[in-house]
């Protein structure tokens, strides 16, 4: 092998480049793992459905609410525990989760989704930065 040191250096550099993202993810700022979300500023403890369900299915809940309100003209949601809520993103959801930047956005940014709710819906004035 002619330029042995050079070849070795190149192999090292390529390997380092391949491994770097994984090391960076372990130790650096981009630590993996889901982000921690801020609790509602108002101190509410209970969402419309259990937290685990909401974490996974909040989109389904919103879609169901949307169809019920817009297409069927129904406004009241009866939760699995029997409690009733007004089906509204801007008053019911944001009524508690008014900290959009520390709640909605933090997770949506993490998973790289860009919901288009706020292109039309207007974010309530108090609390939370509308964007």
């Amino acid at each position: 092998m002619y330029s042995k040191p050079l070849v070795l250096i190149i192999i090292m550099v390529v390997l380092a480049g391949l491994v770097a993202p994984f090391i960076y993810a372990r130790i650096g700022k981009g630590a993996s793992g889901p982000p921690t979300l801020a609790a509602p500023p108002g101190g509410e403890k209970e969402c419309v459905e259990p937290t685990a369900y909401m974490r996974r299915h909040h989109v389904d809940v919103l879609m169901k609410w949307r169809d019920a309100v817009v297409r069927e003209g129904r406004l009241t949601y009866v939760a699995s525990n029997g409690r009733q809520y007004v089906m509204s993103l801007t008053t019911t959801c944001i009524g508690c989760h008014s900290n959009k930047a520390d709640f909605c956005d933090r997770c949506h940014d993490y998973v790289r989704v860009q919901p288009r709710c706020w292109e039309c819906h207007t974010f309530p004035e108090k609390g939370g930065a509308a964007r």
Binding site: V70, R71, G73, H121
Partner: protein, 246 residues
């Protein structure tokens, strides 16, 4: 059981299944109350007296965040005014009386709305109470409905409307670029037991709103007692906005 008995029994049981729904007149057979059938009556003589009045338009466009587009070709309107001859081209009888006057127009919420069957995503649909509604979430902006509507009641958002809304009303969403919009007979206000914003705002009592299925409603009484016309009735869309004459 003889064959004859069996057939007799079969016929009777069949009748009992069909009969109740057919015999009940004026109900959908489910025991629910007959649905509402919302309609609007426009008193054009009273309206024409208040020349230049835009109370209804301003109220509607304010509460629904309807943008004020500087370019007329991109104008967005839910309720507007047009000359008599433009609204009623085939009904010349009153042409002279209304010469130069503008008359209020809005979505007719047709009983047989041409905009509904053409919508490829079912974003436009007809509710049980006769309101022709839009689900803006579903609208893909193909504008078939605009081509189908013979009344020009629909507008398209060629650009983001938000910069053109003077003051965004936080109680109602705006629309996005690429979406068609129109009057919804204020479904959001009806749900809260309120009258449509335009009817509420009209100080001249030129707009009357009510339920055509309710014998005692003011719209039924007005339509029974005074002659009225609809826009382009020959198309068979059966509009539910009526214009009182005399």
């Amino acid at each position: 059981m003889t064959r004859r008995e069996f057939l007799r029994l079969l016929a009777l049981s069949g009748f009992s299944l069909v009969a109740p729904a057919d015999l009940l007149i004026g109900s959908d057979g489910t025991g629910r109350k007959a649905p509402k059938r919302w309609a609007m009556v426009v008193d054009i003589f009273a309206c024409a007296k208040k020349e230049g009045c835009t109370e209804c338009i301003e109220a509607c466009h304010r509460v629904h965040n309807v943008p004020d587009m500087p370019d007329a070709a991109r104008r967005i309107k839910w309720i507007w005014t047009s000359p008599y001859h433009a609204l009623f081209p085939e009904q010349p009888a009153y042409m002279e009386a209304f010469k130069g006057r503008r008359i209020t127009a809005l979505c007719n919420h047709c009983e047989d709305p041409p905009c509904v069957p053409v919508c490829p995503t079912k974003a436009t649909f007809r509710r049980d109470d006769g309101i022709v509604m839009m689900d803006y979430h579903r609208c893909i902006g193909c504008r078939y409905c605009m081509a189908a509507c013979p009344y020009g009641a629909r507008s398209f958002n060629w650009q983001d409307p938000r910069p053109f809304i003077h003051a965004i009303d936080k109680g109602y969403p705006t629309r996005a670029k690429g979406v068609v919009e129109k009057c919804s007979f204020c479904d959001e206000r009806l749900a809260r037991g309120l009258l449509p914003a335009c009817v509420d705002a009209c100080k001249g009592a030129c707009l009357v709103f009510g339920d055509l299925n309710d014998e005692r409603s003011q719209v039924v009484r007005l339509l029974r007692s005074r002659p009225a016309i609809q826009r382009k009735p020959e198309l068979g869309t059966r509009p539910k906005v009526f214009y009182l004459l005399a």
